[in-house]
């Protein structure tokens, strides 16, 4: 376990900025306590200082997880967000997509969101903008990337993909053994 280097921090923030923009500041500088990012086995964890201090008592090779896993660094040093980061992305998300109740299950099974399942979308969403996917009852289901801008969404046919799937809460069941 170690703090992130400058490049790693940059990669992480650039990825997070696609979903929550400048709201990263609220994650870094929190009034309710001291939180930080730590790297452990190529995974980035968002930990409070108290838990971090407790976790130092556990040997590195025995430590499975601590705090909240935000994602992992690939072998080529790219950063991939995991669905476990959703708890921190959803409250600060700048662009949101709501899916209809009928399309919820399809999304939770790992499929892209089609135009027919699109309930609402934030105005002036650009193409390839990171978005957080909600159910119509405002329950965060996952996140993805807008395949079309808001303007284009109005024109396309109902079977066209509007949001590319990246992660959804169904992974807690599907990828139970790999999520930490």
């Amino acid at each position: 376990m170690r703090p992130l280097t400058e490049e790693e921090t940059r990669a992480l923030f650039e990825k997070l900025a696609k979903y929550i923009g400048e709201n990263i500041q609220l994650l870094v500088d929190r009034p309710d306590g001291s939180y930080c990012f730590r790297l452990h086995k190529d995974r980035v964890y968002y930990v409070s200082e108290r838990i971090l201090k407790v976790a130092t008592n556990i040997p590195g090779d025995k430590l499975v997880s601590l705090g909240t896993c935000f994602g992992k660094f690939t072998k080529t040093q790219k950063f991939r967000l995991h669905v476990t980061a959703l708890d921190y992305l959803a409250p600060y998300a700048k662009y949101k997509v709501w899916v209809k109740p009928g399309a919820e299950q399809s999304f939770l099974y790992g499929n892209h969101v089609l135009k027919s399942g699109l309930g609402r979308i934030t105005e002036n969403t650009a193409q390839y903008q990171g978005v957080v996917v909600y159910s119509m009852a405002d329950v965060p289901l996952g996140f993805g990337v807008a395949a079309k801008s808001t303007q284009d969404c109005r024109k396309v046919d109902p079977m066209a993909i509007v949001v590319f799937h990246q992660a959804d809460v169904g992974e807690y069941v599907r990828h139970e053994e790999t999520l930490t």
């Binding site: 703090p3 280097t5 940059r10 500088d29 930080c36 200082e49 971090l52 130092t56």
Partner: protein, 341 residues
């Protein structure tokens, strides 16, 4: 049937008895030559039983030949005077005689000494060394005396009790001191030449071994090596007062991470600073690009101005051929180019 069985049994028993016998007694046409000091046995018998062609048979024959010869050598060893070490229960120690066989040397021959400067010069000039007797007849002492050194013929000039002041010399000069001084100089020069000859013979090293002359660079390198030649690789070696502060590190850069529980506030401020850089859409000023852009703009402006000027001069198109026109423009341009150059 039964008789046959008995005969077979007898033959087998005979064989079994002969087996250890054969392994101990070895017959040879020519006796082996032994050098027990070196534990060496020389077999001069021609290896007729060993087939020429390589194969399993030859291998086994060679092995048995070696075994037989070893057997003979060991039998000789048993004939040597022996004693028990550490009392009666210790191992048996044989006393080997002096080795008689001269083994070839293990190391290569030492390299010949490179010729001294005088030897080189003498060979170049064809100077031969003349043999002179070491003893000469001393007329005064009526005795054979050495040519050089202590008690030499004609008396040692250093032991003269009286020296004539040479003509044209300063009468106040101490001739004894002068002679002594000259002698010292000669000795010093000889020593210097001797060291020079040694230095010429040895390859230029890293300056780690003390020689007559060591350059500043060599001395610096030697001190650098000596500094790290401690048990802790010079980690606790204090630096000399005028030594440069930090030597250039030879190893690569070691990867270092921030401490796990370091200054969290500083880490936070660093991340916020990074965020500020990410947030601003304006890319930071790239100086080389900016300069290049400026240069390009100036060039474009200059080119535009030149074009306009040319067009002005060539305002009225001549009715002549295209070739002639081209030549004309070239002629016009040339003086400008010369001025620039």
């Amino acid at each position: 049937m039964a008789a046959l069985c008995v005969e077979e049994l007898l033959a087998r028993a005979e064989q079994r008895e002969a087996e250890p016998q054969r392994s101990v007694t070895v017959e040879k046409e020519l006796e082996l030559e032994f050098d027990l000091g070196n534990l060496l046995a020389l077999d001069r018998n021609p290896p007729t039983s060993v087939p020429r062609a390589a194969g399993a048979q030859r291998e086994s024959r060679l092995r048995s030949l070696a075994r037989d010869n070893t057997q003979l050598l060991v039998a000789q060893l048993w004939g040597l005077p022996a004693e028990r070490a550490e009392g009666a229960a210790g191992p048996l120690l044989a006393q080997l005689p002096e080795p008689s066989y001269r083994l070839p040397r293990e190391k290569p021959l030492p390299r010949p000494r490179p010729p001294t400067r005088w030897e080189q010069f003498a060979r170049l000039k064809g100077i031969r060394r003349r043999k002179r007797t070491s003893l000469v007849w001393d007329e005064a002492a009526k005795q054979w005396r050495r040519r050089w050194g202590y008690g030499r013929a004609g008396g040692d000039p250093a032991r003269d009790w009286l020296i004539e002041v040479p003509a044209g010399a300063d009468p106040d000069e101490d001739q004894f001191a002068k002679r002594l001084c000259e002698k010292r100089e000669r000795v010093a020069r000889n020593e210097l030449n001797r060291l020079r000859n040694i230095a010429r013979g040895t390859l230029p090293g890293r300056g780690l071994h003390p020689t007559g002359h060591q350059s500043r660079v060599e001395l610096g390198r030697a001190s650098e090596v000596a500094r790290v030649s401690t048990a802790s690789l010079g980690r606790f070696q204090p630096r000399l007062p005028k030594e440069p502060a930090a030597p250039p590190s030879r190893g690569g850069k070691k990867r270092r991470f921030e401490p796990l529980l370091g200054d969290l506030a500083a880490e936070r401020s660093r991340q916020l600073e990074l965020l500020r850089g990410l947030g601003s859409k304006k890319p930071p000023l790239d100086l080389t690009r900016a300069v290049n852009k400026q240069l390009r703009e100036e060039d474009a402006e200059a080119a535009k101005g030149r074009k306009r000027g040319q067009r002005g001069k060539r305002g009225r198109p001549r009715p002549g051929a295209a070739k002639g026109k081209k030549a004309g423009t070239r002629r016009q341009q040339r003086p400008a180019g010369k001025k620039r150059g």
